[in-house]
Symmetry: C2
Subunit: 159 residues, 2 copies
């Protein structure tokens, strides 16, 4: 890994912002702790339902506040239809919102939940980890992939 | 990481198949070597243009051959319009093909190339690594994310 690349990554992480949509308070505690441990420097915005999520994204656009580069969406909020509705709203929005990668994370590993989510345009579907160490691994992988490897849609404006 | 999870991952990797669309023969050599080193067990299908790629995918469906779970697409084949045309064909196809995540990898880090690719439904956009070690890291990250963490659309039928 070259020095130049490492510098870029540091800059990327300094500007990392994730929107997390999760209605389960136990999971929110786990997620917050795991992010602090494995994803230092990321700013996480947490909301508990789909209306708050879409309102937050629209407000960012209206007020010029920097949008999150990644959205983590719990599918069952509390029904899967709530998660899918939000996914549809995001994917049918204007490009600055519709281009943000959405990762669904859910307790469900039902085939229909997975395939319907991909059909509606989710970037990837992750079954929620079971224990805390796996949550830490999960966020580490997320960071390695989305911030150390991928060029996100807003790569020019942020860095 | 639990034993159960490790077993699942081994099964996943045993069934891993990637379609690589790349017209640069030097890069194909690097990719093949890097995959052998960091992504043992994966079966990679390589084609050099968009027509061969879509024909391969259609043949899989028609003959019942297992589809790849991930498509790596070089954008400039040799023009970016070639890559985008293939992306459009994939994304407008029937679900078994349109749901396969497509990762664009390209030498270009131009903002327009990145945002237009996301607008056309690419899952993620990666600027090609510069040296061989970075290619190995790149495939390691790809494996960790897509095979160790994500549930891919075909997760029921393959495992």
């Amino acid at each position: 890994m070259s020095l130049v690349k490492s510098k870029t990554n540091t800059n990327r992480l300094r500007n990392a912002r994730i929107l997390i949509v999760e209605d389960n308070s136990d999971h929110l505690v786990l997620i917050t702790k795991a992010i602090q441990q494995s994803f230092t420097g990321v700013e996480s915005v947490m909301v508990t339902d789909e209306h708050a999520a879409i309102n937050y994204l629209r407000e960012c656009v209206q007020t010029g506040v920097r949008l999150p580069q990644l959205i983590l969406l719990d599918l069952y909020l509390p029904e899967r239809q709530n998660g899918w509705n939000l996914l549809k709203m995001i994917k049918s929005h204007t490009p600055e919102i519709s281009q943000i990668p959405v990762v669904i994370f859910s307790n469900s590993d039902h085939h229909e939940d997975i395939t319907e989510s991909y059909d509606l345009g989710v970037t990837s579907y992750v079954v929620k980890p079971i224990n805390y160490d796996e949550w830490v691994d999960y966020f580490q992988t997320l960071k390695d992939y989305w911030w150390e490897t991928v060029s996100l849609p807003d790569s020019r404006s942020t860095y």
